[in-house]
């Protein structure tokens, strides 16, 4: 099976129903994308498929086909992703950081689709991403900061 991840082609030999998360992490060794719950309740595993934020723990790899996958390792190459990462560093959003690849992927997808998100839109895009360290105040500020950039 061929996968297009962050612009590069990867060949993997895995069952169709294996979630993309585990293909990325264990088979390809790209560990930036995180396992947090496995049931689409935490958002730690968020990647983009053709620019849409999707929980990779629920995405059977066989359904991806030729669509473009972007992970945290590649999101800095998009303009929205770079803005979010910069804002995250400037505002020191991150604590333990484990949830943050997912937060950044969700925030980047939001910003790409909606360059000036209001609080309601931020809630809608980010509520699926849990942060046990409680960085929510700064995530909200970070998105607004990035939107101004």
């Amino acid at each position: 099976m061929d996968l297009k991840i962050n612009g590069a082609n990867h060949q993997v030999d895995v069952p169709d129903d294996m979630p993309l998360l585990w293909v990325i992490r264990d088979v390809l060794g790209m560990t930036g994308t995180k396992f947090g719950c496995g049931i689409a309740q935490c958002g730690a595993c968020t990647v983009h498929v053709d620019g849409i934020a999707i929980r990779s723990c629920q995405l059977p790899v066989g359904t991806v086909g030729g669509r473009a996958i972007t992970t945290i390792e590649g999101i800095g190459d998009t303009s929205a992703g770079a803005k979010i990462q910069k804002a995250w560093i400037e505002l020191e959003v991150i604590q333990c950081g484990y949830c943050q690849p997912g937060q950044i992927m969700s925030a980047a997808a939001l910003l790409a689709a909606n360059p000036q998100p209001d609080d309601d839109a931020i809630d809608a895009a980010m509520a699926g991403n849990l942060c046990r360290c409680g960085t929510y105040v700064r995530i909200r500020e970070g998105i607004k900061h990035a939107a101004r950039a």
């Binding site: 629920q58 995405l59 059977p60 359904t63 309601d120 809630d123 809608a124 699926g128």
Partner: protein
Amino acid sequence: MRIRRVLVLIAGAIVVAVAAIVGWMVFQPGPYAFAKGSPVDLAAYKGRPPTGVPPELAHADAATRGEYLIRMADCEACHTAKGGSRFAGGRPFVLPFGTIYTPNLTPDPDTGIGKWSDAQFLNAVHKGIAPDGSHYYPAFPYASYTMLTDADVLAIKAYLFSLKPVHQANRPNTFGFPVNQRWLMAIWARLFNPDHRFRPVEGQSEAWNRGAYLVEAAGHCGECHTPRNLLQALDQRRKFAGGVAEGWNAYNISTDRNDGIGDWPPDDLAVYLAAGHAKGRGVASGPMGEAVALSLAHLTKSDIAAIVTYLRSVPAMASGLPKAAGPAPATPKLANIDNPVGKRLFEGNCVGCHAWTGAGAAADHARLTGLRSVNDPSAANVVQIILNGRGKPGTPKPYMPSFARSYSDAEIAAVANYITARFGSTPSKVTPADVAAFRKEN
């Protein structure tokens, strides 16, 4: 005097009316009386026998055949408690008049059926009579099983006797008066159990007859999908127009094009029955999810095809459900739905799989738009699946977690109403009290 006469007349009229109503309920058409052709005794039937295992398994060993038959009759779902040993019983069913617990079917001599003779087992399955002579409650679908052949029933018994005995005492039910009067059940059986074996219909295809045997005798589909009358018997005049199972709506499976499965392509129907999901059709959950997992998924292709053939012959029966709404817009602004709690829960807990559009984020089985349950103004099944979830995490099969434990009645009502308002044709008006009642169902 005149007054007395009038009273007598009125009383007489009432008696006649009651008798008529009872008669109407009692003298019903048989489950497949709709079919053209003439039912004949099995022995007289000229086609391939519709009973037993399918031809593919004709030469399998007895254990395989017994297991297949017990899957056909789906005994496991009811006779296994959550987290308990298979067939050891103890699963509670909450009925309006109390809770009933299924009995132990393992061959344990003291608590199971280890001491039962063949005749006793046949008597139980065909007539609903226990070895001690008492009558079972019709929660046990013997009025359907009565159509199973002796050979099939005894093959099931043989299979059960091959299992490891589990020592687990049966729990008494909690019914109060008058339902606790078991002799009433004898009357019920007299009225509603035809007590005769399956009669194939000459003039229908072999597949149809096999399907009828699978659906009516073994699968007992009507027990959930056919509405019941006041005496708790299936209302065959409204066959497959939809019923209720453990608080879940068991939807109309007649061939009505809007309310039932009339517009389902046969392939969709077959895939749904075998796998629990067909594209755009949602995922079999709750009791139907169990029926798929424990019974239908184990049937052969030819048997599934036979079921489809039979189901597609059942007359259309409307049940007044609205037409499903089309796709929903993606906007989180939410089309003026004034339900902030529902929106909040949806965006936090649901969007990950179901997507803002309700079209399913990662997989089609998470689609909400177009589903019967989402377009059901009662939202019963929406509430049920939020409360109960489905499946097991960490497998490739469709899974949804249960939100019962940490979300309040008000929250669950709000999100159910939000979902039907956004993705269905008619917004539901589930109240926190409704959710509390649903919680008690299971």
